[in-house]
């Protein structure tokens, strides 16, 4: 090798400096020298899985396409299930309305105007029984997008299956059930942070013993990034959260190899293409090392970073909305080049209106064009060996690790969230980013550069269905008068006793939902023992 210094940096070339959103500076040129210390012989499907968790990834089976959908009532959800099964589909994401997510019954005054607005409304097991009427649970996998009240809804899912005569040891399905990220973004927390984590761990422990095929947690970096975290923090905070749940599971005597492979992740994509790809490749390698080196997992599948990664709403604009079709296609490309397991894209018009069937179809076609026309599935990890991508991958592994150390300095993720430390830093970043866009320092096509005179598009909402909300409240009234209220009282009392004794609450909650205790009643019972989370406020004027 020549001893003369090769030109490499922005200064060397006399060009402007470039920094990624994460704050890392990138050089105008990368060469073999930059990856001298990297493992050039690592194979996909082999530990530490930088190049993907399977040897050939998509050649036999492309990533799963899973688009989100919300339906107001259990009745509509049931219709949709039947439609999907008839059309050969096997999975559905179920969205819930805000009262269900926050632990309020439909007849609670605070639920007024919100019942069924953003998803299905659930008060009691009766609603679940309607939603899943005549559905073969062996044939369909159900994903519950629920967090604050996840333990109750998972209990309802299990109770429904048990009552219908299924063998729950074979029951499949997933729940989001990532409460720690709710404190950072999305906001459907109820109980204090440590009690909230305890409830997540209860579901993990119960499922490990009784419903081993169920995936009880999906850790969401997605919402953390949408709240203002940069790509390094997105991965670092998600890993800290996943470790908190893992530690909880281990403390209950579950082995790492029984738990880790049931854990999955949900990540965000927008911004610099290479930065995102390096984030996923570096993150995947780091997670594998954490699970093997720190936790001593023996099985390779325990070390896999399994993820859903799709287009983030944060990158899309209301201005020149058709540009979002192009942005989403790039996000899809990033996701595929990063070796995702599942992909979902936002509709181009989602920033201002109810996505039409047409816009939803464009999202679907975007992914299909990539799969069938672009050769994206032919060869595994096509960017592997790129000087730039490999160097940046190494850098991301290092930086994510460093950021995780910062969380340790804040006395761990539970404390960092309880004190508002993380919320404060991400909200400050969201502010800086927004100011950067509004001042033009962060270029955004159609927003601060290449603007055109266009008619301002108005935002639109689904009209609120007051009749459906009234029907739900009426249904609840009937259930409350027809159930065995003595048993309801005993069940709620048992939950309280178990909560005070710090026992796993799944058994008593499953018993309670079988007697048609409501989501609100169970939440209120737990509030009596646990209290509520007090949101840290950090806009002091001192």
């Amino acid at each position: 090798m020549s001893t003369t210094k090769i030109k490499k940096t922005a200064e060397d070339f006399g060009v402007k400096k470039v920094f990624l959103e994460s704050g890392l500076e990138v050089d105008p040129l990368y060469t073999a020298k930059d990856i001298e210390n990297s493992d050039k012989y690592e194979m996909p499907g082999e530990y530490p899985f930088t190049r993907g968790i399977h040897p050939t990834m998509y050649r036999n089976k492309p990533f799963t396409i899973r688009q989100y959908a919300g339906f107001a009532s259990p009745e509509e959800t049931n219709e949709r299930f039947h439609f999907l099964i008839k059309n050969g589909q096997s999975g559905l994401n179920v969205a819930f309305d805000l009262p269900t997510q926050c632990g309020l019954d439909s007849d609670d005054p605070r639920a007024f105007g919100e019942v069924g607005r953003v998803g299905m409304s659930i008060d009691t097991l009766h609603d679940f029984e309607i939603a899943f009427k005549n559905i073969d649970l062996d044939k369909i996998t159900v994903s519950l997008t629920i967090n604050g009240t996840a333990i109750i809804l998972i209990a309802m899912y299990i109770a429904m299956a048990e009552k219908a005569g299924y063998d729950i040891s074979k029951l499949r399905g997933t729940a989001q059930n990532d409460i720690l990220k709710e404190f950072i973004g999305r906001g459907t927390w109820i109980f204090p942070v440590d009690r909230s984590v305890k409830l997540v761990v209860d579901t993990i422990e119960y499922c490990a013993h009784h419903v081993p095929k169920y995936s009880p947690v999906s850790v969401c970096g997605y919402h953390i990034r949408e709240s203002g975290a940069n790509p390094i923090q997105e991965m670092a905070y998600a890993f800290c959260i996943a470790k908190a749940y893992t530690d909880g599971a281990l403390s209950r005597g579950i082995s790492i190899d029984d738990f880790a492979s049931r854990l999955s992740f949900n990540f965000d994509i927008y911004g610099n293409l290479f930065e995102q790809i390096a984030k996923f490749r570096g993150g995947r390698r780091l997670w594998a090392k954490i699970i093997r080196e720190e936790y001593g997992a023996k099985k390779d599948s325990s070390c896999w970073l399994r993820m859903i990664a799709g287009g983030g709403g944060g990158g899309l604009t209301k201005e020149q909305p058709e540009n979002n079709i192009v942005r989403s296609a790039y996000y899809a490309l990033i996701s595929a080049l990063s070796g995702t397991q599942t992909m979902a894209l936002c509709s181009y018009d989602e920033a201002y209106t109810i996505p039409t069937e047409h816009s939803a179809e464009i999202s679907l076609r975007t992914m299909q064009i990539m799969i069938h026309e672009m050769g994206i599935c032919d060869t595994v990890d096509p960017l592997g060996g790129s000087y730039y991508v490999e160097a940046l991958t190494d850098r991301f592994e290092e930086e994510i690790k460093k950021e995780m150390k910062t969380v340790e300095k804040w006395n761990g993720i539970v404390n960092a969230v309880a004190t508002g430390k993380i919320q404060e830093s991400v909200s400050k970043q969201a502010y800086e980013r927004e100011m950067g866009i509004q001042s033009g320092n962060i270029p955004k096509v159609g927003v601060n550069i290449f603007k055109t005179d266009e008619e301002t598009k108005d935002v639109e909402f689904h009209p609120y269905n007051q009749h459906a909300a009234d029907t739900q409240v009426e249904k609840l009234r009937k259930i409350k008068s027809s159930r065995n209220n003595e048993k309801v009282k005993t069940c709620l009392e048992q939950i309280k006793i178990d909560a005070k004794a710090d026992k796993n609450l799944m058994p008593s909650i499953i018993s309670a939902v079988k007697e048609y205790c409501t989501v609100g009643e169970i939440v209120n019972t737990l509030k009596e023992v646990y209290g509520e989370f007090k949101e840290p406020i950090f806009f002091d004027n001192a």
């Binding site: 605070r110 007024f112 919100e114 201002y352 502010y431 935002v459 689904h462 806009f539």
Partner: protein, 127 residues
């Protein structure tokens, strides 16, 4: 001038309201933030306790008309004359309705931070 920024209802979208809180603080205003999921009654109580000059409601879930109506009622019941404004995911066609309900100002989707800060500066001049 002291501003209460509040999140009424169950909507958990708080990125925007926190961005605005930072911006108003940087522009020299005193800002009090309510935190998530407050009832209108709790928000009005908080406004009195903190002796604020104006209340801002951040609503992104589409429930702005229902909540604005409630705001009007609670202020009337308590015979209070605190000015209030609404921001968030507000369709332009609803701005007039909100003003008619009694909002001093309503910022539709797409409003720039600068506009909002300028609005407060103009109030400051009047005060």
């Amino acid at each position: 001038m002291k501003i209460l920024l509040a999140k009424p209802g169950l909507d958990g979208h708080d990125v925007g309201v926190k961005v605005l809180a930072h911006a108003l603080k940087d522009a020299g205003f005193e800002v009090v933030y309510s935190g998530l999921r407050k009832t209108i009654e709790e928000i009005v109580e908080m406004a009195i306790m903190n002796n604020v000059d104006i209340i801002g409601l951040s609503i992104l879930s589409g429930t702005h008309l229902v909540l604005a109506q409630r705001m009007k009622e609670v202020l009337n019941e308590r015979k209070l004359n605190i000015p209030w404004f609404v921001g968030g995911n507000i369709p332009a066609k609803d701005v007039d309705k909100l003003l008619k309900t009694g909002a001093h100002q309503a910022f539709a989707t797409g409003s720039k931070i600068e506009e909002v800060v300028n609005y407060f500066n103009s109030l400051k001049v009047k005060a």
